[in-house]
Every structure is written in C-alpha cells, then in structure tokens.
Amino acid sequence: MTATPGDRTNTNQGEASEAERWASLIGGGAMVLMGLRQGSLRGALTALAGGGLIYQGVTKQSTIQQAQEAIGMNKPIKVEKTVTINRPVDELYRFWHNFENLPTFMKHLKSVKVYNETRSHWIANAPLGNSVEWDADILEDRENQFISWASVANADVDNSGFVRFQKAPGDRGTEVKVVLEYNPPGGQLGAAIAKLFGEEPEQQIGDDLRRFKMLMEAGEIATTEGQPSGRQ
C-alpha cells in the first residue's frame, strides 16, 4: 500500500459516485459488478440486499480483505460467465431458484438441500476425495431477474454468487450471467480446496453454464462418456 490516506479518500469518493452513476443507469447488476472490481462480491451483494447502501457495500469488503491479509490468505477467486439460452426468462429463473437443481449441471456440487425460503445446505466435491459443506442464505431475490446468495459465517468455504436473467434481443431467449466468488481458507484443507472449480475456474463455470443450457434447451446434457473406442 503506497497510497496516502488523502489519495484513498479521493479514490473512494470517485468510485462511489461512479457506482451510483452505473446503478442509476442499469440497476443492481452494475453495482454488483462495481463491487466485484473492488474486490468483494459479498460486500456488493450485501449492500444490494440492504437496500442500495452502495457506498457502505463497497467499503464493507475491506474488512474481509483486511482479515484475509491478516491471516496471509490468497486473493478471493472470482469468476463470471454469460450464456444465452433459448428459453423464456421465467422458466430459467424457476429452475435455478430451486438450488437443489444446481448439481445436475454444476459438476463440483454433490448436493444442495433447501431448508426454507432463504437457507440452504451445500456439499461440494473438493479435490483429493474431500468434500466441503456450508450453509448459504439467499440475500436478494427478484423474480425473473436476479438471485444472489452467500455462505453464512464460519463456512468451510466463504463464498457468494449471483445469477442474473435478462431477455436477449430479438427472440434469442435469455442471457444468463453468473458471478461466483470464494475465499479459500488457509491451512491444509485450504490447499486442497483452493482448486474447487478445477485448474481453470472460468472454464469450469463456462462448462457448468453450457450444461445448464443443454439441459434447458435439449432436455439432456450431451455426453460421450461410456462410448466405445479402440482404447479399451
């Protein structure tokens, strides 16, 4: 950190007003993306859920960041990916809204159990035969538009994400954007699950979204696993 306190104040003011400008232009999604650029999706999502507390949202993340720096952790892993699906917005929103459907196309997830309106329990396959679990809460839920969620305190993997559904131009269906972020914890477990989404998290999420698209459009997920070859 080389910036003087004065510099930082200026920067923050600049970013806040930038965020507000974006927010007024295109709504929550942009604020979330601004939050992402700041370093914490959770901060931005929390701000959003809290009723447009943009500035606090953006600054709030610094506590997470400070905590991370204090225990010498890696940077959070962030991925975002968008896919266009040839189905109506409400159908996709409904399918996603039941988090128990997510493991059918998200390869790293073993299962999701929905407890109630907001809380769910997630179990993910971690490398080396490990699995990790956490509870998550829905932070914001706007019908046919946007769902955001975050793990509750003391989760194995502190993580958060959102999905945004937007009608595509013409009759091309729906643009589905997913943003995920997770903070691998320290220690041995941390090393094992640092690669929760594989070597290339962007590709993993891309594959997940492609499977979601296949499932919603074609009704099944294309596969070649189990077919013959001269290798057996």
């Binding site: 266009t84 891309g206 459009e217 074609a218 294309a222 070649t224 013959p228 070859s229």
Partner: protein, 398 residues
C-alpha cells in the same frame, strides 16, 4: 431386440496415427442419453474429409478413436426420449449432430448447433464459439465415436434422422448423409443467376454433387478442376461439366479464357486443407504444414480469389482446420468478392434430396467406385488417399 450392447463386441475402424487405421474389436455402443438411438450400419462411406484425419491434419484426434461420418442403417434400439423412430426403421443420418432446439438448429443452421459438442471449451478457445459435433471427427468437434463400424450411437435421434423406404439400394441413399447436402449447399451459396458459370475445384463426390446441384439451380456452364483423369472423366460424363486438368494447364488462365476474360461468376472449393498445387507455392505450403507453421494448405482458396470474376462468390465446402497463410486478400477486397462457407446443414436439405432420388431426378450411386467389407477399411483408405485403382468413393459394408 433386447441386447445388452455393452456385452457384445463389434468391429470398428480405429485411428492409430498418420496413415494408420485398423479394424478392431470394441464394445458395442450403448444408449447414454434419453434421446439416443443405436443404428446397425448397413453402409458407411469414406469421405474425402476423412482423409484429413487419416493424414493426421485434424487436431485432437486420439489414438483408438472410431472414425467415419457418412452412414445409413437400421434402428436397433431407441432411448425413452425418442418417439418418432422404432426398431427396424431404415434411416439415413446426417453427419453433423444437431439438438434441434437451440437457436441455430431452429433456424435450420444445424452444423452451428450450440448443444451437441460436449467438449465445447476446446473449440471455444480455438474458434471463439462452439459449433455442432460431427461423428468421428476429432475431440475438438465433440469426440463422438464414428460410424465406420457395425453399430453407432446417434444422439438427438428424435430430430434430423431421415426415415427412408426399404426398396431402394443403399448406394442411392447413403450420400444424403453427407456428400450430397454438402455439394448442394455449396451450390446454393453461389446464389446462381441465369447465365452463370460456376467453377468447381475438386471432382470427388462432394464436387460431383455440387456440379449437378449448380445445374439444377440454373447454372449455364459448370467447369470442373482436378488433376486425376478418371475424376475429370466422371465430371464430364455424369455432371456434364467442362474440365480443366490443372497439371496440364494453368487453371487460372484457362478459366479466364473460357469465360471471355471475366472469370467464373462463382467458385466452389470442394477440396479443403490438403489441396495440391503446383510449383513453388505448393512447396511452400507443404513445407510449412509439415513444420506445423500452418495447419492448412489453402492453394484452392488462393486460386479462387484470383480466378473469380469481380463481384463473384466463393463458396467454400472443403474442410479447413486452423490457420492458412499467404492469402491474396487484396484481390478479395478490391474485387468485392463474397465469401460463403460452412459445414453442411444436412437436416435442412435431406427431405428435399430424398425426394429428388425418389422422383428419379438424382441417382447418386455413380460416384461409388469401390465396395469393400468393413474389414478392408485400411485398404480402402490407402487406395482412396493414393488415388490408386481409379478410386473415387469407397463404401464399406459392415
């Protein structure tokens, strides 16, 4: 049929490296998804683009992969999601795999299907987008087991698969799977106007069907370019084309002379990435390709760009895999050429094409020069690649 296909062994053509295919015993295919069907293959052809795999010019083909994408046969098993096919149906299957429900399939652009390639990330990295899978045509294009085998699994069998009558021989129907729609689409891309001259590079099966289609669409003259006398003879005899042997005369000069100095109105590339040229330019491409400095030899593309008339159309149906080099792009821009290209949308054309066959307006069986048992696939590849024994098209009989 109540076979448990996993327990039965079939014969299949497996790729093992450059110029090395072997007929091996492998497990039978199984239904893996609800919309799958299993087809017992009665006829399967070696396509010119299979030679690109055979010669190891297509990236991501793996040792042991079953190859082949032009085929027909009989339904022996259907998944629970397939309601329009039943066991015993005789079918022709298009070589490109389309889901039928994505934006592209619904707009009849089946070879651009979003959903049939399970290994799309690879292609997305190389091409920027994902296109449809093709049977037995590398892992980049899906990694599906190919059809030069006794049985093949057909995904999304409830769409695209064409049911055909029993009383017509295989050789009249087989090429509706791949070569005829490829040639037909190549001609359609030319937007042929009355009086047009269409030049077709390559007198293999796709080239022959492109010439026939060009006449059907109203071309006044069709000129065929190749270097093998027997292929040129076939173009003259069956496709009624005038011919140029580019090893005897300069094809570009000859085309200009034959078209009153204008150049052909449309040019169709039915050759692709293994084009042969003459002289220094061919040496350049052969060398760069061997050194892996370019993946494709674009000789035909270059020649078409220079040969076409101003404002003309280039229709590219030959397969290219990656990178081409030294393109005379100045000719293309200054002459205002139109480029159209793509893998064929078989599902779009099959119904029309079968009708032409049933009405007696098209008999595609003339392209078959060799019928071999599946066991002799290696021999078939060899003579097709080397153009031995006047080989133009090999049909394998499992």
């Amino acid at each position: 049929m109540t076979n448990d296909y996993g327990l039965i062994n079939m014969k299949a053509v497996c790729w093992h490296g450059a110029n090395d295919v072997r007929v091996e015993t492998v497990p039978d295919p199984k239904i893996l998804n609800p919309r799958d069907a299993i087809i017992k293959i009665t006829s399967t052809a070696i396509c010119g683009s299979d030679l690109h795999i055979y010669g190891d010019y297509i990236p991501t083909v793996q040792q042991g992969d079953i190859i082949g994408h032009e085929f027909m046969g009989e339904v022996v098993e259907v998944g629970r999601g397939v309601h329009n096919l039943k066991i015993g149906d005789r079918v022709v299957v298009p070589s490109t795999i389309g889901c039928g429900h994505c934006n592209y399939c619904q707009r009849d652009m089946w070879s651009l299907c979003d959903n049939s390639n399970p290994k799309g990330w690879m292609e997305e990295k190389l091409y920027g987008n994902i296109t449809s899978a093709i049977y037995g045509y590398s892992h980049l294009l899906g990694g599906y087991a190919g059809a030069q085998a006794e049985y093949v699994r057909v995904p999304f069998a409830d769409v695209g698969v064409l049911k055909v009558p029993r009383d017509i021989p295989d050789e009249m129907l087989l090429f509706i799977s791949d070569a005829i729609p490829t040639g037909y689409m190549g001609a359609e891309f030319c937007d042929i106007q009355p009086g047009d001259t269409v030049a077709v590079w390559g007198c293999g099966a796709v080239g022959q069907f492109a010439m026939i289609s060009a006449y059907m669409m109203g071309a006044e003259r069709v000129i065929a370019i190749d270097r093998f006398p027997e292929r040129l003879e076939m173009a003259r005899k069956f496709a009624k084309a005038e011919t140029i042997n580019y090893e005897e005369v300069d094809a570009g000069e000859a085309l200009k002379e034959m078209t009153g100095g204008r150049g052909p109105d449309a040019c169709i590339d039915a050759v692709g990435l293994e084009a042969h040229g003459v002289g220094l330019e061919d040496f350049y491409d052969q060398t760069k390709q061997k050194l892996k400095l370019e993946t494709d030899r674009p000789h035909v593309l270059r020649q078409m760009m220079v040969a076409a008339r101003k404002g003309g159309t280039l229709s590219i149906m030959g397969v290219y895999g990656g990178f081409v080099d030294k393109m005379p792009f100045g000719a293309a821009i200054n002459k205002a050429l139109t480029f159209r290209m793509g893998q064929m949308h078989g599902q779009k054309y099959m119904h029309l094409l079968i009708q032409l066959v049933l009405d007696g307006k098209l008999d595609p069986s003339f392209v078959v020069t060799h019928k071999l048992p599946l066991e002799q696939a290696a021999h078939g590849y060899h003579i097709f690649q080397q153009k031995k024994d006047n080989c133009i098209k090999v049909v394998l009989k499992p």
